[in-house]
Amino acid sequence: MVEQVRKLLENRVTSVAELEALRKSILQKRDQSRTCISICGGTGCRAAGAEEILEAFYEEIEKRELQLQVELKETGCHGFCEQGPIAVIGPKKIFYRRLKPEDVPEIISETVLKGKIIERLLYVDPTTGEKITYEADVPFYKSQTRAILSANGEIDPTDIEDYIARGGYSALCKALFQMSPESVIEEVKKSGLRGRGGGGFPTGRKWESCRQASSDIKYVICNADEGDPGAYQDRSLLEGNPHAILEGMLIGAYAIGSHRGFLYVRNEYPLAVRHARIAIEQAMDYGLLGENILGSGFDFTVMINKGGGAFVCGESSALMASLEGKIGEPKAKYIHMSEKGLWDKPSLLNNVKTWANVPLIINKGADWYTGFGTAGSTGTMIFSLVGKINNTGLVEVPMGITLRKMIYDIGGGIPNGKKFKAVQTGGPSGGCIPEQYLDTPVDFDELSELGSMMGSGAMIVMDEDTCMVDVARYFIEFLKGESCGKCVPCREGLNRMSEVLNNIAHGKAKREDLDTLEDLAGILGDGALCALGKTAANPVMSTLRYFRDEYLAHIDDKKCPAGVCRELIQYSIDPDKCEGCGRCLRSCPTGAISGEKKQVHTLDPEKCIKCGACYDVCKFNAVIKV
């Protein structure tokens, strides 16, 4: 019993001095001569087989008894998701990608033991054809400013000592012992940090109004209900560096006078929940959460709540409703959540990325932070660059970088030689930006001017094969399914917008239907209760603004120029390309394709239900859309 208690207290630090001593001892304990192999263990790489790679490394190291020479570390998401599974072999940080378990023995014997590079595992720069050896030289990383994400590749998220070794919780020490709550708020205000969850509200101002609200009980909430399709930065941050968020919440709680925090994580993120749980337990163990933190007299605990599978719960008042055990119905915010939020108490709600910025701002100062970005949008922003793009992944850049630089320099441009058509930002509340605006700096206000918005940071690239009418339809269908159903404009309006857009996509619409769409957009924007409804028409309006001729083609000519809308296209087999392999015939669910082996196949349009299976499986590009 005494042993157990002693073990529990062993890790506990009760003052800044003790934390510093612990930090020193961790660094000293670490054997710098060991070769560190860090494997990306983010959900994306796991889906691509990272766990088998990890297993293979463990086995190989065991087999060769190299435990003393080699340190194996499973980290969070490295960000270059297109190239996963990834392993970085330090200290020089040799960058190996697209790994298979079979590659592992060779990596150990050649690279780790003999220092030899395995050429075939290196990243090849598509523009120069050059093979890149070291992580820092990979163009994808080089063009970024990874103030926050750099930690992801170096920390084992299940080990708090990794975070402490890198200087973790030093911002908390500074805030608790060298700054007053008011000066913490001043620093955040000076930094110009704006909410990274979508609203872009000045964070310092929110903290200030929360501090000024009078109440004994105040709450701090981290919104990790990342629902925008295509966005996964919050997940990767929580999976890869949960302590950064905890530290941010601690500083925020100190600033406003709160002792209880909630971490609301989306139900669909089991790994993030697991790592956050471990982080909280370890932080409590080490005395960095709980009572009298570091001897400051300040108490703070955090509880994890999982979402229930509702996008609307990303809205702050709906999130708080579900924390109270009710359905996720938003309510009118004529009185701010920072005055009356969770259980009618002042509540400070910020997004995961916003919290992750806080320790940096406290440690390095607001002046450092304003050195990045534009006047109206300071600091860096983490985007998820996905869709029709070569380098799919997480990108951290200073605000103000142009869309062109993001998509072409960092993103590597559009694959398969296709032409860029639009980039969608801001998720279902945002809009599509066409080519003529690619030199726009990425900034809260600039994006709003274009009819889009920053949102949570999903950046979805679309090419000539994307139909903008279909994109609008997709977002409206998504929101229709996620609407809570409380208010008439959203519940009924989205339903009718879907009806009109489906008619357009089916070639059954008239010109007046475009006016109807505008009217519905007006009802939603003016009449809806919450931001989900108010911004729901943005994707439709922005595509109508920049791609009106595509809508007209669907309405007047009953054609889908991009070849997407099923009712308006016809599949056919190009006799010059068809090799008669029969794969399309086998995949066709209605028997619409016929042909002998090694003979040109034909498609009967009468039987064709346009499911697209033949188009997907043909290896000779012989199935075409007319």
Partner: protein, 238 residues
């Protein structure tokens, strides 16, 4: 102390001096004085001759909900330079507030909401009356055949007036409906047959049945059918 409900759950307590707390505001260019701690809708309702704000999901006996949005008005908090849309049933009166209840923009929004409601409930008398008043003729969409506008008054009446909770709003989005637990046709013991739900219902979708218990609004055309009518068949994309 006067309590005014801002939303279904939150309220603010307003100090009253000598029982009177005067708030000066301008409604439709008329300067009026009302007692504080009220919402715009409540304040205006007691002053005839000022704009007539329609409301469907509002009833003085229960807390305001803000679901129908037809009571939307334009307000300016900064003396008239910027206006925004708010729900009059929830927005508290403030000193110096400027309210416009009948501008062209407001009427356009109301007309739109009525068209949406008329599409959903073309045979409901109350909606037909509003449609006539605001000049909504034939909706541009496929008509439904509901009686219930999902205002939630029945649910709130059962909860707040009777302290029971025999019925509630279930599902979300277009599948939302008023139902008893597990969609039971017959209401159990929780329902005491008081008839409040039928009394507050603005459309007559709930009526008292022969057994003394309410008959809940039936979903007349199942949503799956409406979906199919609109989509015709599933749509795919590339």
């Amino acid at each position: 102390m006067t309590k005014v409900w801002i939303s279904g759950e939150a309220s603010i307590d307003v100090e009253a001096a000598d029982g009177i707390n005067a708030v000066n505001l301008t409604v439709d260019d008329k300067e009026i004085v009302v007692s504080g701690g009220q919402t715009i809708l409540e304040a205006v309702a007691r002053l005839p001759g000022i704009g007539n704000i329609p409301a469907l999901c509002h009833h003085p006996a229960v807390k305001p909900y803000g679901a129908c949005r037809i009571c939307t008005v334009e307000v300016s908090e900064d003396g008239g330079s910027k206006f925004r849309f708010v729900a009059a049933c929830l927005y508290p009166v403030k000193e110096g507030l400027i309210v416009k209840t009948n501008t062209e923009k407001v009427r356009k929004l109301r007309k739109g909401i009525i068209e949406l409601l008329l599409t959903r409930c073309p045979n409901v008398k109350r909606i037909q009356e509003l449609a006539e008043e605001y000049g909504v003729e034939k909706p541009r969409f496929i008509l439904g055949d509901q009686d219930c506008i999902l205002c939630g008054l029945c649910v709130r009446a059962c909860q707040e007036i009777m302290g029971k909770s025999a019925i509630n709003l279930v599902n979300r989005g277009i599948y939302r409906e008023v139902a008893a637990p597990f969609y039971a046709y017959e209401l159990g013991e929780e329902c005491i047959g008081c008839g409040d739900c039928a009394f507050v219902c603005p459309t007559g979708a709930i009526e008292m049945g022969p057994d003394g218990k309410p008959v809940l609004p039936k979903v007349k055309i199942p949503f799956a059918e409406i979906e199919a009518m609109m989509k015709k068949e599933t749509i795919t994309t590339s």
